[in-house]
Symmetry: C2
Subunit: 69 residues, 2 copies
């Protein structure tokens, strides 16, 4: 299991955190996601090789926010 922290722009509250987490956790290979709107981050635990950075980016965008690499 790999754990990585990404920057997410645009989250302003706990609802935003939930939206980001839910979209990321729907991805195959993602075990968990914990977002923090104050820090503007999401920590994702995932299986290397089963999910790509592009999928992370698309999931965060689906939630309505922007993942910044």
């Amino acid at each position: 299991m790999t754990e990585k922290t990404f920057r997410v722009e645009g989250m302003s509250c706990g609802h935003c955190e939930m939206s980001v987490q839910e979209e990321l956790e729907e991805l195959d290979g993602v075990k968990s996601a914990k977002a923090d709107h104050v820090e503007g981050t999401v920590v994702v635990a995932y299986e290397e090789g089963r999910v790509t950075g592009e999928q992370f980016r698309a999931a965060v965008e689906e939630a309505g926010y922007e993942l910044v690499f």
Copy 2:
């Protein structure tokens, strides 16, 4: 139908608006609620006599925010 604008403290995004609207619209006598996190307001359309200010306050609090009279 009566329409009144209340101040709501603590909303920071569209998710917050949705939470407030949903709780208010669950009240008997409330026809619609439209929240605005930028203005910090919610406009409620309701039938006078079927719902009280205390019920509005409780619904907004249930959503996690504060209605200021």
